[in-house]
């Protein structure tokens, strides 16, 4: 067969497919809630627009492509994005997806070109380093929709999204402060970029709330994924007297280290990161953070399908989703915010403060377990004991002043909150962090 014949055959098949799709496509009605986070200097405001649209039967198929920076098998960042993509792909029959893994930033633009030439009209780029190439391609292809994860540049046809963990790190900090006997808590960090710095700071604020004289010791390994280095850093922290570990790195190495120490009779506890890690440390994994990218992907793609996101209205669309949207979850494994092994111990530690819940209930000197549950409610995620319920309401934020940096300067005035934009450039340590110096 010549290539012309091949092409002809493909076109015929395509036409048959379209015809069949047309005949059998179901009629659906989708109610869409549009949330915009508009970046204004200093403060992140949220406007909500509700649009109801009836999707007509000829609703087109959406072809979405995902560009990953690492291999799918990293069990961390790329793995989580891929799982989410697969879930959304299965859920909607109007959606067709593909992916390209281990793409170097240098090749990202070329891969996007290939995807577009193959008819993909929504492109997700899932690494900070893809920011500039994504923007360039967005400008070059104004008729396609682009979404970039973890960056800060947008265009009329390019939005940004991120599932942020800082609230959960704060909650982990509360528990770490209660469980540490040595008053030394360790943190293994991949790279000290603003995202990780704010996570460490949120964690340290939680620690401080429960244990005023506890310190958080930070080690940077200089890689998003390197189990060998993560293990070295964790061991080195433990040898300096640390007995609770949190981390940002894509492998379960830190949890494994804690479990090994536990089996030797040394009590070292850990908090999981990114994917369920309970099986790597069933006796030591207290809680942790889990991600649900599928909530964000589902929302974005449904809105594109419904027509409320198009190529001219994404300039101000920045998903910065946290607990109340359900895009992140507290726990070392799904549907279990705190490992039951530690509940009693957490209930035995009281914190000297008053907490008011959104419904007016006042808690005087709650224990740490109750405090964690109360803070969850205040941040819009309610754990009923068997499932999560979300309220679109945030009455508490960990980054509320007064906050001092570790040189003793008052960084946040009492009662003030650090806004979205400052959190996105955060390059200083809160007072109880002992970490490497941070440059501009």
């Amino acid at each position: 067969m010549t290539s012309t014949q091949w092409a002809a055959l493909s076109i015929i098949l395509l036409l048959v497919g379209v015809a069949l799709g047309y005949l059998f496509a179901p009629t659906t009605t989708v109610t869409v809630t549009q949330t915009k986070t508009v970046g204004q200097a200093g403060q992140a405001g949220t406007t909500t627009v509700t649009v109801t649209k009836t999707i007509s039967p000829e609703g087109k198929k959406i072809k979405a492509a995902f560009i990953y920076v690492g291999p799918i098998g990293d069990i961390g960042w790329t793995y989580a994005h891929h799982q989410a993509k697969e879930m959304v792909d299965k859920k909607y029959d109007w959606l067709e997806t593909t992916h390209v893994e281990s793409v170097a930033p240098a090749d990202a633009a070329g891969v996007i070109e290939q995807l577009i030439s193959q008819g993909y009209d929504v492109i997700f780029t899932t690494s900070f380093d893809f920011m500039d190439p994504t923007l360039e391609e967005a400008k070059k292809h104004p008729d396609k929709i682009f979404w970039h994860c973890a960056g800060y540049k947008r265009a009329p046809n390019m939005g940004t999204y991120f599932a942020d963990f800082y609230q959960i790190y704060y909650l982990n900090g509360l528990m770490a402060g209660a469980l540490s006997k040595t008053k030394k808590i360790g943190y293994v960090a991949a790279h000290l970029i603003p995202e990780v710095v704010r996570h460490i700071n949120a964690f340290a604020l939680g620690v401080k709330e429960v244990c005023a004289d506890c310190k958080v010791y930070v080690r940077e390994i200089g890689a998003w994924y390197d189990p060998t280095k993560a293990r070295q850093a964790a061991e080195s922290l433990i040898s300096e007297g640390v007995d609770v570990l949190a981390f940002t790195e894509d492998s379960p190495a830190v949890v494994q280290v804690a479990q090994e120490h536990y089996q030797k009779g040394e009590r070292v506890l850990a908090f999981g990161h990114y994917s369920p890690m309970e099986k790597f440390g069933k006796d030591v994994c207290v809680s942790g953070q889990l991600v649900h990218w599928e909530k964000i992907y589902d929302d974005i793609l449904s809105k594109i399908y419904a027509g409320s996101y198009s190529t001219d209205n994404l300039e101000d669309v920045d998903y910065w989703w946290k607990l109340k949207e359900g895009s992140v979850e507290l726990g070392c494994t799904f549907n279990q915010p705190i490992n039951p092994k530690f509940v009693n111990e957490l209930k035995s530690v009281k914190v000297q403060e008053t907490v008011q819940l959104p419904n007016g209930t006042i808690l005087e000197n709650p224990d740490v377990y109750t405090l964690v549950m109360a803070r969850l409610i205040q941040m819009g995620a309610i754990w009923t004991g068997s499932k999560w319920i979300y309220a679109n309401d945030e009455t508490f934020d960990p980054f509320t002043g007064p906050i001092y940096d570790n040189n003793g300067n008052l960084k946040v005035l009492p009662g003030q909150r650090i806004g979205h934009d400052e959190l996105w450039s955060m390059q200083w340590w809160v007072e109880n962090v002992v970490g490497p110096p941070l440059g501009g």
Binding site: S3, W6, G39, A41, A65, V69, P71, I72, T98, H99, V100, E101, S102, V103, A104, P105, A106, D107, A109, G110, V111, E113, Q114, L115, I116, S117, Q118, F128, D129, D132, Y152, K153, H191, L192, I193, P194, V197, G222, D421, W424, S425, M426, Q427, L438, G439, G440
Partner: protein, 358 residues
């Protein structure tokens, strides 16, 4: 009766081409097993790789984009390999060129591109050449194994580079009214320092022209100049070279300066033409792939250009099969590995012939 391998006195062009094609075919047949394991029709896969790497506009231009750095790196490597010197640190020389051009690009004011672009390429060449000299001198003076010294120098520079972009070179960036800082990347080089592109593509044509010219010049240098003659003698018969009073140091250092310099030019193209700023993942392995294409293509510019273009196409085709068949990246790596194994094996039949002996 037994079979004996006898070295061919002369390698015929026809034989070379036939063996190369045959080995690629055998390699493709072997790699078919991988695609069959995924329930795919290998013929269909190959057909679509080929069409999408070379027969569509995007495939074609992207293959050229990948070819540019590969051609520069491999032209230099092909030259230095002829002196019997194994430079496997071209990735480091590429990085040196890119880093030098970055320092110049962010400093220089808006000048005529006729001054600016040659200046960028010049510092890139010089930096790459400088990074290439020590292994040559170490080998000539102290007989230090160059495979290792070039690789080590790459690693040293790589970590210095990581230190710089995570520290001193880290830059804040203004977007609209806001300034973002703390991220591990450098400034974007100013627009006037960026290389012009062929409209609608990512082909930074100045580098493309330089690459093609360089591959011809290298051939000319090697075959038509006294320096090239010395390099060839040093490579093919070191003892004779010594007897003839040819300086090993001079020949190898010169070859390494050209090789490092051309890799440096590739770095300038990657920074000023493609990426425009440094990120931790700036390097994508052209310095290593160039070793393979240099070895396959040899010093003949036409053969080098074809080899590098095909290799660029292989990279683009690899992305294509990930997109279309959703195959894991590992399949692409295996595929490339298998092809190389068979081409390597095929070399034997180019250099040797099998004779039956009674």
């Amino acid at each position: 009766m037994r079979i004996r391998a006898v070295r061919r006195l002369e390698v015929s062009k026809r034989n070379l081409v036939t063996v190369r094609i045959l080995s690629v075919i055998v390699a493709l047949l072997t790699a078919s097993l991988v695609f069959l394991a995924y329930g795919l029709n290998p013929l269909e896969v190959y057909r679509s790789i080929f069409l999408n790497a070379f027969a569509t506009e995007i495939g074609l231009t992207e293959s050229v984009v990948r070819m540019i750095p590969l051609l520069l790196v491999s032209s230099g490597l092909a030259l230095v390999f002829r002196t019997g010197f194994w430079n496997i640190g071209a990735e480091g020389q590429l990085l040196a060129g890119a880093m030098a051009s970055y320092l110049l690009a962010v400093e220089l004011p808006e000048l005529s591109p006729l001054i600016l672009l040659p200046a960028l390429f010049a510092v890139g060449f010089v930096a790459g050449a400088i990074w290439g000299i020590p292994p040559a001198v170490l080998k000539a003076k102290l007989n230090v194994n160059e495979v290792i010294s070039t690789l080590m120098l790459y690693y040293v520079l790589y970590w210095v580079f990581q230190h710089l972009i995570h520290g001193p070179w880290k830059a804040r960036e203004k977007v609209g009214k806001l300034t973002y800082g703390g991220f591990a990347h450098t400034e974007v080089i100013p627009e006037h320092s960026q290389l012009p592109l062929l409209p609608g593509t990512r082909i930074h044509w100045p580098t493309l022209i330089i690459a093609v010219v360089a591959s011809v010049l290298v051939y000319f240098l090697l075959t038509r100049t006294p320096w090239g003659y010395e390099m060839r003698v040093v490579g093919s018969n070191p003892d004779a070279a010594k007897a003839a009073g040819i300086s090993y140091l001079k020949a190898v250092t010169l070859a390494m300066m050209v090789s490092g310099g051309l890799a440096g030019l590739a770095g300038v193209g990657e920074l000023c033409g493609i990426q425009k700023r440094f990120t931790p993942e700036f390097l994508s392995g052209y310095g290593f792939s160039g070793i393979i294409t240099a070895w396959l293509g040899g010093t003949n510019p036409i053969s080098l250009i074809i080899t590098n273009f095909l290799y660029g196409g292989l990279l683009v085709g690899g992305e294509y099969i990930m997109i279309t068949y959703r195959l894991p990246i590992g399949v692409v790596d295996m595929f490339n590995g298998i092809i190389l194994f068979f081409v390597l094996a095929g070399e034997f039949f180019i250099k040797y012939e099998l004779r039956r002996e009674k």
